[in-house]
Every structure is written in structure tokens, then in C-alpha cells.
Amino acid sequence: MNKTLSTLAALSSAAAAMPAQAAAVPTDTVSSYRYSQYREADAPASRVYAGDIERYSIDVHQLHHARPLAEQWYVSGDVQYETLSGASPWKTYQNTDDQSVLIMSGASGEGITDTRIDINSQAKRYFDEGTLGGQVGVSHENDYQSLALGGDGSLELFDKHTTLTLAFSTSFDRLSPTDAEQYGGGRSRADGRSKRTTSTYHGISQVLDARRVISAGIGYTHHSGFLSDPYKLDDRRPGERDQFTLDGQYRHHFDVFAGAAAHLDYRLYQDDWGINSHTLSVRWSQAFQWGQWRYQVTPLLRYYRQTAANFYNLEELPPADDYASSDARLSSFGAITAGLHQRLSWQQWSVSLDYQTYQSDEQLTLISTTEDEAPGLVDFSIFSLGLEYRH
């Protein structure tokens, strides 16, 4: 029913997997599995007018296999399987006491359960001065299908001190909400409709010296089609959306124990729905070595803030002839993530453990805070365990 996490957002992420050093054809065959538990905190009971307070709980299984092919090719495949249960907000509105209250799913007595399977594959050809790659992915749910295609290339310049990257992707999605005839409304309007996304990204990375590297990039994504949320009440969004990003990443190596690095990532985002956001992530990645054992620990702090969409509306009955949405994700809010990633490696094996906790609040925007409460904002945690074998 309601969507789980997302489809194929990482089609062009192969470059991100690499160390900051310039690309060379990988020689390892890698097989890995990861299990993750995603748990959302309950909705505030005092603000739930109707429906369940117990929000999403999602289990995610990921399989990855990558290997060299011939001398210049590297291919990989990923499968992701998710199971979901729980409730999500259908609507938020301000009551006569000026309090924002929630109508959650489950008000009809039916809980939500869903599964999603996502399969994608990538191939990359390595040349002396760069790479060319292609990706294809499909995602299947009861009520949502997606096919995505992508291509990317990189070019190394100035004795491999500078790498230019270019990526392109497009996706074709089709909606078929459950119980569309029974519920009508947005579900009925969405039934059989499609979404199209085209996206491009241009990046540059630069070796500053033997211990420092930096990258920057600009991205543009265009969405068209049915962009409203079929499961939310009174949700009417424009049929087009243009998104722009500017981002930068910085890595700095230090001689601390078996090696350490400071990570600094920033993203500026703007779209034509009126949402502007800033995302800042800071990590310290620390390695220790005892013989063949290697332990890497990386704490993370991430801060996010965004402005509201122009049509974000908390009226109980918004005008039917205008755009409107009470989706908390389109509200003005801020969020803090704290996390810890640990990896223990021995010979060709490694096991990793990751925990993150995410807290969001309308007051965490820090500046230009809003008077509007957004009880639909979500807090969640992710616990994740991974196993990897390289040979």
C-alpha cells in the first residue's frame, strides 16, 4: 500500500563508493548482505484525532555482488527486499483551538502491510583516462512500479589530480493505489497515472595534496506527471517539479593510530515548489589495526533544515480548486541525525554495525521558525548489520 522507502535513488552512485583517489578498475569480487531495521516513533497520541499512532516499521534486506569482467569491465548487481507495516499520516489540520491534529491511516480499522523488491544492475568500462557506465533498475510493489535507466562517465585530467563526472538518469513510474474504487479521492485520481523523472549531475573532484581531496557538483532533476500523494487527503500538488542541488564534499587524512579522516559534506537544495534546504554532515572516520584485524569506527552528525512548500496548507477544508498539501515533509522543519558506524575486518571478511537516530522538529530550523505545529514529522532509528566477503 503506502510506499516503503524509495526506488532506485542510487543508480549513479558507483563513483561514491570509491576512495577519494582517482578511479582504477577494481580487482576484487565482492559479495555482501545487509539487514536493516527502520523504526519510526509513535505519532503523538494527544494530537491523533483518528487512526493508529504506531507508525512505520520496515525491515530491509540488501544483497550486493560485484566482480571484474574481462580486464576493463566491472559489473555489479543489487537486490533489495523490504517489508513494511504501520500507519502514516493521511492529513494534518488546525482545529478550532489552533492545534494541529492528525488523521492517521488505520482509521478504517485496516493496518498497512506492504512489500517491495528492487533489482538493479550496473556495468562500468574503465579507460586510461576515465570510465563509462550504464545502469538499469526495476522496482515492484502492489501499487507502484518503476523502471529506471542511467548512464555516467568520468574523465581524469591533470595527471589524475582532477576528475570530472557526468551522470544522467531517467525513470518511468506507474501508480495503482490499493482500494482506489473503495476510497475514491486521490487514490482514484492516481490510479493508472504515471510519473516521469529525468536527472543530470555534473561533478568535479580535486586532489589538493597527499592528504586532502575535495569535490563539488551541481544537479538538476525534473519531475512530471502525478506528483500528489494518493493516500493523503486533500493533497493536490503541481504536475511539474524542478529541483536544483549544489553540493560539496571534503576529506582530510590524519595520522592517528592506523589512519583517520575528517569528512565534511554539504548540500544546498532549491526547488520551484518553494522548498529550500541545507544539509550538513560531519564524520570522523578512525581506523585501528592489530595484525590482520582492522577496526574502523565512524561517528556521524547530520543537520538538515528546510522551508515549507508554497502550497503547504493546514486548513481543515482547503479550497478544492487550488494546490494544497498538509504533508509534514513539505512543512518548515529541521532535523538532527546522530549515528555510529563500525566495521571489523579480518582477511577477506568484514562485518559492520550501524546505528542512526533521527529527530525532527519544526523548531529545529533554528532561524525563521514557524508558528505552525507539524505533529506529522517523524522521528526514527535505523539499526543495520552487514557482512562482506572479498576475494
Binding site: A9, L11, Q62, G203, V207, G219, Q296, I382
Partner: protein
């Protein structure tokens, strides 16, 4: 001089010529753009599903009606 252009592009100073044999630090696991690519991929899905913005670092890939 060959480093002048990219350095100017980035509006940064202090770029140095780094020979291939001097790049050991840059290829350390602690220097990866993503600490764990598989987990990073999942994180990007989650943030894109729970926040009003998405993208950065790569092309967007497929759409999603996540809620």
C-alpha cells in the same frame, strides 16, 4: 601550472603536485566518499522519503511516492 585551472575552478588555493606513489593516504578506507556504500544507498532512500528535498552527489534515479 596544470593544476591552475581546476584550482581556480574550485576557487581554492594550495593545490600540490601529488605523484602516484604519494597517494597512499588518499586511497585509505577512511577517505572513502561513502563510509559504507550499501548503507549509504539505504540512507539516501530514507532521507529522500522523509524530507522535502533529495539529490546531490549523483543523478536522481527513479521516482517514488513514498509516505
Amino acid at each position: 601550472m596544470r593544476l591552475l585551472l581546476p584550482c581556480l575552478l574550485l576557487m581554492l588555493g594550495g593545490c600540490a603536485q601529488v605523484q602516484p606513489w604519494e597517494r597512499g593516504y588518499l586511497s585509505h578506507d577512511v577517505m572513502a566518499w561513502d563510509v559504507d556504500p550499501m548503507k549509504a544507498r539505504l540512507d539516501r532512500h530514507i532521507y529522500a522519503s522523509k524530507e522535502g528535498s533529495s539529490g546531490g552527489g549523483q543523478a536522481a534515479g527513479g521516482g517514488c511516492g513514498c509516505n
